[in-house]
C-alpha cells in the first residue's frame, strides 16, 4: 500500500530536504556545498558586496532548497557530515602537488 501511495502522490509545492531519505539529503547537500563555493567565486570575480544565492533542485524527488532555507540545514546531522567530508576532500586537494 505504501508503494502505491508513493506512486500516485502529488505535491503542491517542492518538498523540504529534511523530509528526504539520507541518501537524497547527502546528494543534495554535497551539491549545495559545491554551489556555495561557486557563489563565493562569483562574488570575488564581480566584486559584489553580497553573495548571489541560488536555488538547488532535486527533480527526481521534487525537493528544493531555497536560499533562505539554508540556515535551517545547519541543524541537520547529514549536513554536518557533508561539510566534514568536503573539508577532508579540500585538504587532500591542497596537499597534492
Amino acid at each position: 500500500m505504501k508503494l502505491f501511495k508513493g506512486l500516485f502522490s502529488h505535491v503542491r509545492l517542492h518538498r523540504k530536504p529534511q523530509d528526504m531519505p539520507p541518501w537524497v539529503r547527502k546528494r543534495l547537500y554535497d551539491n549545495l556545498l559545491h554551489l556555495m563555493e561557486d557563489e563565493q567565486e562569483i562574488q570575488r570575480l564581480l566584486q559584489l558586496p553580497i553573495k548571489p544565492r541560488l536555488c538547488i533542485v532535486d527533480e527526481e524527488r521534487v525537493a528544493m532548497i531555497r536560499p533562505y532555507n539554508r540556515n535551517q540545514l545547519n541543524l541537520d546531522e547529514q549536513m554536518r557530515k557533508a561539510r566534514e567530508e568536503k573539508q577532508g576532500e579540500d585538504r587532500e586537494d591542497d596537499q597534492q602537488p
Binding site: 554551489l35 562569483i42 538547488i56 536560499p67
Partner: protein, 172 residues
Amino acid sequence: MDPVRLRFEVMRDLYQSQRDRREQIRSSVATPVSALAFTVFNLSTLATHYHLEHWNYPVNLAIGVLFFISVVLLLSGAAFIINLERGFIYVDPPDLKELVEAENKLREQGDTSDEVIAARMHDIMSGSYDIVYRWYFAANEQAARDRTRGLHLILMSLGLIVVTFALLPFQR
C-alpha cells in the same frame, strides 16, 4: 550598451540556450526508445524460430551466443536511457524573495541610488546565470552522452540480430 547590461544579457542568453537544449535532449530520447521496442520485437521473433533442442550444433550454438550478447547489449542500452533522467541536481537563479532580500541588504550597506542598486542586481543575476549555465551545460553533456551510448548499444544489439537472422536457415 553598458558593460553591466552586456554581461547580464550574454549570460541570460547562454542560460536559456542550455535550458532549451535540455528539453531537446529529453525529447530526443524517443529515438532510442523506439529502436529498443523494435529490437525486442525482433528478439521475440528470433526466439520462436530458434531450435534449442540442437543447441550443441555449431550454428545453433553461434545463434544462441549472439542472441545472449544481443540481450545483454539491449539491457545495457536501456540502463543508459533510464539513467539519463535519474539523479540530476539542477540549480536555478535566485527566487523573488531572495532578490528582494538582496536589494534590502544593498540598501543597508549604503547603496542608496537606484542606479547603483540596479547595476549590482544585474551583476548578481549575471553571476547566477553563469553558475546555472555551467551546471546545466555539464548535466546536458552527460545526458547527451548517455543517450548516444544507449542508442549505440541498442543499434549494436539490432546488428547482431541481423547476423543471427542470416544464420537461422543453416541451423539444425
